[in-house]
């Protein structure tokens, strides 16, 4: 907690007390160069540049909203696109309707289809925040909660609590706490490895993949003692799936992802300082290592809260920041939310493809995202040899 306090507090010592140069407009006046046309141009261009970044976020927020409605119309029971929003709105305002036909529609939309869509959006959002933060704080383009082993750690923690009935607290929260505790194992390893000298970003990811295999093996070993019911759900968990999502799965995931993402947004400007190196960040007043640890623990918590319900869905967190970066650049104040909205959209669409492509057989969403993310990951590894990211 003291680390958190240190990060959010800025102690205001008056400039004259520490002998700082007075902060007023007279400084560097000789080098002003006058308010030239160029100046006005720069500010105008800069405003446009920021507006484009915000537009990207809005576009994908709106697309997610529309896609959500479209996905809900898909299924055995036919529904109209606009009808879906009407039903949801009425339910929010008045609760379930009494008319039998309306009640059935409401049940299909509200109880059967909406939770899956919401979970897809929240999970995509959260994984993308985690990926963007990991890539920026570790300065590693290949990092996300999957490739660093954080997801596998969380999945193992959740599996242990289900199979062995071992939890620190009761039921649902207990699974999450367990998942979080085990997700910290790879997080801790990353922090240690990232501080080693001569550690390339590829070797850091290889360490993450090794941890992933160890946790996956442990999870597989647990299958031996699992009963048949648990076995089926364990399979879905290892692949990553949004099948059978219920309203009960939404609140914890939503609350943790929202709280974590808000905390990260407060730190996003600070994360930018890490780009030019830890010493440079420190010379601008930010303890780089502490910031990195706080960020990684926060995104591990987000990851754990999602993985406890969906299992390890890979590569959404890897792909989304890369796509967002192409359009809006690497400024984390915009990159993190833009990746998040893109990630929400991407996961929703991936899940839909998994359901629709081989209907009525359902392909788990984790398989679909692996098809999308795997090739990008390969490309990044190959390009790594040519470009210097360190």
């Amino acid at each position: 907690m003291s680390a958190m306090r240190g990060l959010f507090r800025s102690r205001a010592v008056p400039d004259e007390d520490i002998g700082a140069i007075a902060q007023d407009a007279s400084i560097y006046a000789r080098w002003d160069g006058g308010e030239t046309e160029q100046d006005a141009h720069i500010e105008q261009e800069y405003r446009g540049y920021i507006a484009r970044k915000i537009a990207f976020m809005i576009v994908f927020a709106v697309l997610s909203f529309i896609a959500g409605g479209l996905v809900i119309t898909y299924g055995d029971y036919p529904l109209d696109f606009f009808e879906v929003y009407g039903i949801i709105w009425d339910h929010i305002l008045h609760g379930p309707p009494e008319d039998p036909i309306e009640f059935l529609k409401d049940h299909v939309v509200w109880s059967l289809r909406l939770p899956r869509v919401l979970v897809a959006l929240i999970a995509g959002f959260g994984f993308a925040v985690a990926g963007a933060v990991m890539q920026s704080t570790l300065k590693n383009p290949m990092a996300d909660s999957y490739t660093t082993g954080v997801s596998s750690g969380a999945a193992f923690g959740a599996t242990v609590s289900i199979v062995a009935g071992f939890t620190l607290f009761g039921s649902g929260v207990g699974i999450l706490v367990n998942a979080f505790v085990f997700s910290l194992v790879p997080t801790f390893l990353i922090v240690v490895v990232s501080r080693m000298r001569n550690m390339s970003s590829t070797s850091m990811i290889l360490a993450g993949l090794a941890v992933m295999y160890i946790f996956n093996a442990l999870t597989s070993a647990l299958k031996l003692i699992a009963d048949p019911d648990a076995l089926a759900s364990l399979y879905r968990w290892q692949v990553g799936s949004l099948n059978n999502m219920l309203w009960a799965d939404v609140p914890v995931m939503l609350a943790v992802t929202a709280a974590g993402s808000i905390a990260i947004m407060f730190l996003s400007r600070r994360i930018n300082l890490l780009a030019s190196g830890d010493e440079s960040a420190k010379s601008l007043g930010v303890d780089a290592n502490r910031l990195r640890i706080v960020c990684l623990v926060t995104v591990s918590l987000i990851t754990a809260s999602i993985v406890s319900f969906t299992g390890t869905i890979g590569f959404v967190g890897l792909v989304s920041p890369h796509i967002a970066r192409i359009f809006i650049g690497s400024d984390n104040r915009y990159l993190i939310p833009a990746s998040a909205f893109f990630g929400a959209f991407l996961l929703l669409i991936s899940d839909f493809i998994g359901r629709a492509a081989f209907a009525p057989t359902v392909l788990e969403v984790g398989v679909v995202t692996a098809f999308i993310g795997g090739p990008l990951f390969l490309y990044l590894i190959i390009r790594q040899r040519k470009e210097v990211w360190t």
Binding site: S10, R11, V13, D15, I18, G19, A20, I21, Q23, D24, A25, I27, Y28, A29, R30, W31, D32, G33, Q38, D39, I42, E43, E45, Y46, Y49, Q135, S136, K139, N140, P141, R269, R270, N272, L273, A275, S276, G277, E279, S280, K282, S283, L284, G285, V286, D287, R325, G329, S330, D331, V388, W389, T390
Partner: protein, 265 residues
């Protein structure tokens, strides 16, 4: 601003880098730290600004222990321009220079003062045209200038630069060094610059600190006091002639000493 180091030792693990360094910098101006590779120039400046903690000794700024400053307070009085390294994920030049305003932030957004200072800092380094470019599209020299502009945007009382002219061509080397000297004189900033360029140091520095193996201060003072034929010979292991160039020493390197001659010293 008075920076004082008293018998400062520093070790990386078992390797001792600084040996009992005593140094006082008590005037604004351009101060050049010179010396052969590996004598601990970068380590010395990092200790001065609290980036590294000395294993023993005392470092004070205006009488206050460097370790007593919070990181943010330190950032408002001491700016640092490291040896440039390509950043991982590039931002645009304007945003990068604006990062220098971070320690002075009062609100989350940029104030009009932040804008004014950022634009002037870019103007000083002649990089206004590049404002909207991504930093990964820049040449090494332009990259260097962006880093210096960021340090200037920090409006520190002490600006520490580690080999700021290493990637610049002759014209830009002169421009940047002259600019740093002018800022030092006009604003009363203490500009401390680690440099390998003996003649630029001799020509522009108000004070030169010459370091020698094994991590000690060989001599500090005015360029005339520090750059003598004997000092350069013993510290750098090269034979040279020092001539007078309008009141400033100018060094003409003659030849490297042979290994046998080095042993004799």
């Amino acid at each position: 601003m008075r920076i004082e180091l008293e018998s400062v030792d520093f070790s990386f693990g078992s390797e001792k880098v600084l040996h009992g360094v005593d140094l006082v910098i008590d005037r604004p101006g351009l101060i050049c730290i010179v010396g052969p590779n590996g004598v601990g120039k970068s380590t010395l400046v990092k200790c001065m600004m609290g980036l590294l903690k000395p294993s023993s000794g005392r470092i004070t700024i205006d009488g206050r222990n460097v370790s007593d400053f919070t990181l943010n307070d330190m950032a408002r009085i001491v700016g640092y321009v490291p040896v440039t390294s390509g950043g991982a994920f590039a931002m645009n030049v304007l945003d990068t220079v604006m990062l220098g305003r971070y320690p002075h932030r009062k609100t989350s957004g940029a104030s009009s003062l932040d804008w004014t200072i950022t634009k002037r800092a870019m103007n000083m380094m002649g990089i206004k045209d590049l404002a909207m470019k991504n930093t990964n599209e820049l040449s090494a020299g332009q990259h260097q200038k962006v880093a210096i502009a960021k340090g200037l945007a920090q409006t520190p009382r002490v600006l520490v630069l580690d080999e700021p002219t290493a990637n610049l061509d002759a014209r830009h080397q002169l421009q940047v060094t002259e600019l740093l000297r002018d800022i030092a004189r006009e604003i009363g900033m203490t500009v401390i610059m680690v440099s390998h360029d003996l003649n630029a140091s001799a020509k522009y520095a108000d004070e030169v600190v010459m370091m020698a193996r094994p991590g000690v201060i060989h001599r500090s003072g005015t360029p005339e006091e520090v750059f003598t034929e004997e000092d350069i010979r013993s510290v750098y292991g090269v034979e040279c002639r020092v001539i007078d160039d309008r009141g400033r020493p100018h060094i003409i390197l003659e030849r490297a000493l042979t290994d046998e001659e080095m042993v004799e010293q």
